[in-house]
């Protein structure tokens, strides 16, 4: 039976688990989402406080100092990061969680082998998987961070025999893992750790920047799984429950995201999206007619006399931090009796929902944001890599104005036939600058 302390810990863990589940439920609805995040934070506080009661803990100094440093780092970066840089911040925090899971697994193995206890197959397997998955999640997230932060090129990085090399590293990880389970050996576990670190980096490098949201989501659920595995090693049910909750909901989220892009997860991971389709891109531009340019003044007049305007924000708006400018423009137009709506593609920006967050920051009411309910799956160019991906039927509008810095390819490295459409006018320049000019022209229109 459990003593008083053990019972207190167990009851706290049960309360924390319920709070996590309830928090996740609240996070799935816009009106309760913020409360949900707090519910989960309260659950976390209870779980961590209860753990400090554990008799296994004999020294608190390392914990106290480590927590202070980690918390200061997390809070500082969490508060100061730009809204546009949120995705890579999530990737970075996710990588840290993965590293924690791997280090805990390695440390527990070292402790168990030195004490001389025999390590059961179940425990050894959990240690091996926790180490490998945590390490993959760590380096994978760091590479994803580097791509989104544009420290690394967003384009897929490829070299000859890449899949063969990656396959060999994967086999190496599996063989080393099997050796640890069967015969132990700390040197082999360290080798496994190193090989898994390498694998994580190598597996994200060939994936294009446009696919990073899905990759981060996969790595997020992997970290959850790694956390759950450390729960098996430490005989801690709290870790198992919370880790698996994240692993399962993260997997579902990954599937929802790739459905939004009409691509299978396997295609995201191994397709080297945006690298191999230069033929398709050039054929589209060859077929395409000339590009027509327009001016801010003409755009302002077209907007002022329109009955209905649909704004379709993309990542350019985020980069230029033009969300407030576009909102002001919309308010102006509404004052003139124009019906303004925002249509947001589910994967616009660098994470699904990224645009919604930015527009919400600029006080755009969310009932003006339209979800993409009508998608058109069959489009004009079957050789394009995004053929079949859900798209907004922008070309059904009477006039289309595209705001773009230049004719360069976007983040995904794919050409867009819309730019050559006969109803399209291009307005080149930084999004905020262009929008400001349109706004000024509108006042005098």
């Amino acid at each position: 039976m459990l003593d008083v302390r053990g019972s207190a810990i167990a009851v706290s863990y049960i309360i924390a688990a319920v709070l996590f589940i309830f928090g996740l439920k609240q996070l799935s609805s816009p009106s309760t989402a913020r409360a949900g995040n707090r519910t989960a934070a309260i659950g976390m506080t209870i779980a961590l406080a209860a753990t400090l009661l554990d008799r296994q803990i004999i020294s608190f100094w390392t914990i106290a100092i480590g927590t202070l440093i980690g918390a200061a780092m997390g809070i500082y970066f969490g508060r100061t990061v730009q809204m546009t840089a949120m995705p890579q911040m999530v990737a970075l925090f996710n990588g840290m969680g993965g590293a924690t899971a791997a280090l805990v697994s390695v440390a527990e193995f070292l402790r168990l082998t030195r004490v001389g206890d025999s390590i059961g197959v179940g425990e050894a397997t959990s240690i091996v998987l926790g180490t490998a998955i945590g390490a993959i999640s760590f380096t994978g997230s760091i590479i994803a961070f580097g791509k989104l932060q544009e420290i690394l090129p967003g384009k897929p990085l490829q070299f000859p025999l890449q899949r063969v090399v990656n396959g060999l590293i994967l086999i190496g990880v599996i063989v080393l893992g099997a050796m640890v389970v069967m015969s132990g050996g700390t040197a082999i576990l360290w080798a496994l750790f190193a090989a898994a670190l390498l694998l994580g980096a190598m597996f994200v490098l060939p994936i294009g920047g446009g696919d990073m949201p899905v990759v981060i989501s996969i790595l997020n659920s992997l970290t959850g799984l790694a956390a759950a595995l450390t729960g098996f090693v430490l005989h801690n049910q709290m870790l198992v429950v919370a880790g698996v909750l994240v692993g399962a909901s993260g997997t579902l989220l990954t599937l929802l995201m790739s459905t939004a892009m009409n691509r299978s997860v396997a295609n995201v991971l191994f397709g080297a999206f945006g690298a191999t389709n230069s033929d398709a891109a050039s054929s589209a531009s060859a077929v395409g007619h000339t590009v027509r340019q327009t001016t801010p003044e003409d755009t302002a007049i077209a907007l002022a006399y329109a009955r209905s305007v649909v704004i379709v924000p993309g990542y350019g708006l985020a980069v230029a931090e033009a969300q407030h400018t576009v909102r002001e423009l919309a308010t102006d137009l509404e004052g003139r009796g124009v019906d303004v709506k925002y249509a947001i593609h589910p994967v616009a920006g660098r994470m699904p929902g990224h645009m919604n967050v930015l527009l919400a920051e600029a006080n755009v009411p969310y009932d003006q944001l339209l979800e993409m309910d009508q998608v058109n799956a069959a489009r004009d160019d079957p050789s394009s890599p995004i053929y079949g991906m859900p798209i907004l039927d922008v070309d059904r509008a009477r006039n289309i104005i595209v705001l773009k810095r230049s004719m360069g390819h976007g983040f995904a490295g794919i050409d867009n036939a819309l730019f050559y459409h006969e109803k399209t006018r291009m307005l080149f320049g930084d999004a905020r600058q262009s929008l400001t000019q349109i706004g000024q022209a509108l006042k005098s229109a």
Partner: protein, 103 residues
């Protein structure tokens, strides 16, 4: 297999179903905050780092435990702070108009 392992596997499987069920109807507007929120929750792994760091009895284990606590704590605190900042921005139309009147 030990009784404890079997119990652990039960918990594991049940939690998979709960995890799938609880977020099955989430609007795409909330995908990013939800990913960020679950990211904070898996920071629970810092609990394992507490146990390792608190029971360490060699320099190597102290070092591993310390790094694990730092990373894990950054995951937890950063995760919740970032998620809160994202969700702070979701306002209803009434709230937005109220603010305009104040201004």
């Amino acid at each position: 297999m030990s009784q404890e392992l079997v119990l652990g596997i039960y918990v594991f499987i049940m939690a998979i179903f709960v995890g799938f069920e609880v977020i099955s109807r989430v609007p795409s507007v909330l995908h990013t905050p939800l990913m960020s929120g679950t990211n904070a929750i898996h920071g629970i792994v810092v609990l394992g780092a507490f146990l390792v760091a608190g029971s360490a009895d060699s320099p190597l284990l102290h070092a591993l435990g310390f790094i694990a606590v730092v990373f894990g704590a950054a995951n937890v605190f950063g995760g919740f702070v970032v998620t809160d900042r994202m969700l702070e921005m979701f306002k209803k139309r009434e709230a937005v108009q109220g603010e305009k009147k104040d201004a």
